[in-house]
């Protein structure tokens, strides 16, 4: 390319990167909450209904699943984490000097994988929430353990 020529090149990267940064900050808060619940639950008592058990025990898990707030938080965290992580993976792959067609294929593949996982994770969170809400509403129902 010589002086004066300006190639029309693929755009959008500014937007993707800005959301990648924003997602990172949001994940810091939400994953921080998740880590505090899972690993410092005994210390903080945060979202731990049965303090004598492990924070990750089925009973404690069950109680968190019943919470609409936490279900929404987990779905949001999943979406943000998938976007942030898969964009990061895309960044690393794009720095390996791929052909433009391969770059496009990589982007498409990552978008598909991300959407599938988000869909699956959302289904699992909603199903767990509905199941837990049912069990908490009907304590006489038998709880099937692991």
């Amino acid at each position: 390319m010589r002086e004066g020529e300006m190639k029309q090149v693929e755009g959008g990267e500014t937007a993707y990167w800005t959301w990648h940064m924003a997602a990172g900050v949001a994940i810091f808060a939400l994953l921080g909450l998740h880590m505090t619940t899972m690993h410092l639950g005994g210390l903080t008592g945060l979202f731990v209904a049965y303090p004598t058990e492990q924070a990750v025990s089925p009973a404690n898990s069950h109680t968190r699943d019943a919470s609409l707030f936490l279900t929404v938080v987990y779905i949001l965290l999943l979406g943000l984490a998938l976007y942030h992580g898969l964009y990061g993976l895309r960044t690393m792959l794009f720095e390996l000097t791929l052909k433009p067609a391969t770059e496009q294929a990589v982007t498409t593949a990552l978008v598909v994988v991300g959407l599938l996982l988000l869909g699956f994770g959302t289904w699992a969170a909603v199903a767990a929430h509905q199941g837990a809400a049912y069990h908490i509403a009907s304590p006489e129902a038998v709880y099937v353990g692991g």
Partner: protein, 252 residues
């Protein structure tokens, strides 16, 4: 002092190999002085680029004991006690011995249109007066205008090591140099290439470019400031600036 130099002669060697030379050390001797000693006394076939021998032309960039440096600017005693390892700048093809092929760097430099762009082309081609610029306006881009295009930053950059299409620290710094110049109005046009898949967002602040820059240009800082400009533009927070005129000063 032993100089271990990576030699490569096209047409004769299939791959680069190291040749050792014994160079008598004098106080104050630079790596470039050592190379001249080798060429004049030991091996006249050794090839490298140099010109000003005082750190202003950018010709003698090479790998000195693992770091890209200017040979004329590097005192031997500063980097080694007994052994100096020299190689051509990495991330560029080798033409011969210590001579890298810098064409890719200059092509990328051209991609960011490193010149003043204004809409009034008549005035650009037939200027009738000077453009006024205050000392504050100058400070916004002066640091980045000290670049001597030596290529050391490109050699040190981890992204440039694998991504052949990445613009690299020097072109991106020069893009900011012109974006920040109050006489220039070409920031939006440059944004197309700078904000592309292999533009400014492939930098992750490893900071090596600023560590090795021999002129204190701080390309790492320039690239982050460039990202800020692009993100501000995307979020609609950018202040629109018209290029400065000929009457009075254009206050930011």
């Amino acid at each position: 002092m032993t100089f271990h130099i990576l030699r490569y002669t096209p047409g004769k060697d299939t791959k680069p190999c190291i040749t050792a030379y014994q160079v008598p050390l004098k106080l104050g001797m630079t790596v470039l002085d050592g190379l001249y000693y080798i060429k004049e006394n030991l091996d006249p076939s050794l090839a490298w680029r140099s010109s000003c021998r005082m750190g202003v032309c950018g010709s003698c960039g090479m790998l000195v004991n693992g770091l890209p440096r200017l040979a004329c600017n590097t005192q031997i005693k500063e980097v080694a006690d007994t052994r100096v390892a020299l190689g051509p700048l990495p991330n560029f093809d080798i033409i011969r011995d210590l001579v890298p092929d810098l064409t890719s760097m200059f092509d990328k430099h051209l991609e960011v249109s490193p010149f003043i762009q204004r809409e009034d082309e008549v005035d650009i081609n037939n200027p009738e007066g000077e453009y006024y610029q205050s000392p504050e306006d100058l400070e916004h881009y002066l640091q980045f205008s000290f670049c001597i295009k030596c290529g050391c930053c490109m050699a040190a950059c981890p992204t440039s090591a694998t991504d052949a299409r990445y613009l690299g620290p020097m072109p991106l710094t020069q893009a900011l140099r012109y974006n920040n110049d109050s006489r220039d109005g070409g920031a939006e046009k440059r944004a197309l290439r700078i904000g592309s898949r292999h533009g400014v967002f492939r930098c992750h602040y490893a900071g090596e470019c600023s560590r090795v820059c021999p002129k204190g240009v701080d390309p790492a800082k320039a690239i982050q400031l460039l990202k800020r400009q692009l993100v501000a533009g995307y979020l609609g927070l950018a202040r629109r600036r018209k290029p400065c005129g000929k009457q009075g000063l254009n206050r930011r």
